[in-house]
């Protein structure tokens, strides 16, 4: 069974953290179509969070067509994810690490690196529009 976690210091609202974790698990192939998500009560009790937060996260996942509720049975993953093959992921990670090392040697701080990535991504999105 998929298990959620919560980072109370991240500043990201708890329901969004749950949504992100499902999206990420789908991309990485840890969650697949037909998998059942834990019940609202299980998540509320295990993370010690408001059950309405879990309900809100599951609604958002349904809205994004990543999951669907089956009456009396629970919430199931409905998306067919095409996870990026693990070899490709490893290659990407290796080149990213090399790039990060270069950035560090150039004197870039962690914050500056994050800002640079955000800027590059932002510009790429703008080009696509």
């Amino acid at each position: 069974m998929f298990r959620f976690r919560l980072d109370s210091s991240s500043g990201v609202p708890p329901y969004l953290q749950l949504v992100h974790q499902v999206r990420q698990a789908l991309l990485l192939g840890y969650l697949q179509e037909g998998d059942r998500l834990p019940t609202v009560k299980d998540v509320a009790a295990s993370l010690v969070i408001n059950p309405n937060t879990v309900v809100k996260a599951y609604r958002q996942l349904e809205h994004e067509r990543l999951a669907g509720g089956r009456p009396g049975q629970g919430t199931f993953i409905t998306a067919t994810s095409a996870p990026v093959p693990s070899q490709t992921q490893e290659d990407l990670r290796a080149s990213l690490e090399a790039w990060l090392r270069t950035a560090e040697q150039a004197g870039m701080s962690d914050e500056a690196v994050t800002a640079l990535i955000a800027m590059a991504r932002h510009d790429m999105r703008k080009e696509r529009v």
Binding site: G11, P14, K41, A44, A45, I49, N50, T53
Partner: protein, 320 residues
């Protein structure tokens, strides 16, 4: 939010211009509130803000001086059996009779409550490993809190009011207690109203927020919506409150810049973007602390008064 008012149902709790006077001093005044069914509402405020006064009027233990409490649409009358039975109450110091056993406490619960669920009570303490024959005085703080919660749950009251339930507990007992509260909230679609001092922990527990200060409601509503209409602005120090987009709640001035918590329409914020200004989302704790530190005598309904009526926030100069 959809999960709160689906079908426009009757709120679990409604107080209408509720007030209580102790001699010449108002412990709470003009308190108008709603808590929708199925929410976990947090009641926050400094000592003396009127939290316990409010909670005792809601539970029917204290007679209001003015105004009215309604629980699921039915007016409450202090001291009557029906009103007391509709609200489960876990009082601050878990007042259980010291020489009673857990079984004796349950016996008392059964005698006092028409809908008492002995099976639920017995199963809960069994699951917690608390022996029924154990005397209250030999229970740990966490166990006493759990017995109090069990008694409130076994009443089968649709609204549960918890006054500082975890303030006397160690971190592990705290977590275990709140775990059970969250699980019961999921289970039986109960409505909880929980008062607390521990602001940092509240975000994960509550989806409805009520801030009390100076005997008045300062802020109330769905936590997510309240967060969405507040921003933390960083502006040049000389910027007057009147030029800010929205109502200034809390302001900290440094040498060259000021940090201001404002309540504003996010659209308005986007339009009024200034060079040299920065608007950041506000965290749950920043939001609550901003209101706690600047109680407004004008706020009465939970909607802050318009800028003109609201007195300026207490300005804290970091350096002068």
């Amino acid at each position: 939010m959809a999960e709160h008012d689906a079908g426009g149902s009757v709120p679990a709790l409604r107080t209408d211009r509720l007030g209580r006077r102790y001699g010449k001093i108002w412990g709470l005044r003009d308190c108008t509130l709603e808590v929708p069914a199925g929410t976990v509402a947090a009641l926050v405020g400094p000592n003396g803000a009127g939290k316990t006064t409010l909670l005792e009027m809601i539970t029917g233990l204290l007679e209001p001086t003015e105004g009215q409490v309604s629980v699921f649409g039915q007016p409450s009358h202090a001291g009557t059996a029906e009103s007391l039975a509709r609200v489960g109450y876990v009082a601050q110091d878990h007042p259980l009779y010291r020489d009673f056993t857990v079984a004796d406490m349950f016996h008392l619960g059964r005698a006092m409550n028409p809908r008492w669920d002995q099976l639920l009570a017995a199963a809960r303490v069994d699951a917690l490993g608390i022996p029924l024959q154990r005397k209250v005085k030999s229970l740990s703080g966490g166990q006493k809190a759990q017995v109090s919660l069990t008694m409130a749950l076994a009443k089968h009251a649709p609204l549960l009011v918890l006054d500082e339930p975890v303030s006397s507990l160690d971190p592990v007992a705290r977590l275990e207690f709140m775990r059970d509260v969250m699980a019961s909230a999921a289970d039986a679609s109960l409505t909880f109203l929980i008062s607390s001092h521990v602001v940092a922990e509240l975000e994960r527990f509550c989806d409805w927020l009520i801030v009390l200060g100076g005997g008045l409601v300062q802020l109330a509503g769905p936590a997510d919506d309240l967060l969405a209409v507040h921003r933390l602005l960083t502006v040049p120090r000389a910027t007057p409150d009147a030029e800010l987009p929205g109502t200034a709640i809390d302001r900290t001035d440094s040498d060259r810049h000021s940090t201001v918590l404002v309540r504003a329409d996010p659209v308005q914020l986007a339009v009024q973007g200034h060079a040299g200004w920065q608007a950041n989302p506000v965290s749950f704790e920043q939001l609550v602390m901003g209101y706690l530190q600047n109680p407004s005598p004008a706020a009465a309904t939970g909607n802050p008064a318009p800028a003109a009526q609201r007195p300026g926030p207490g300005t804290k100069a970091v350096t002068s």
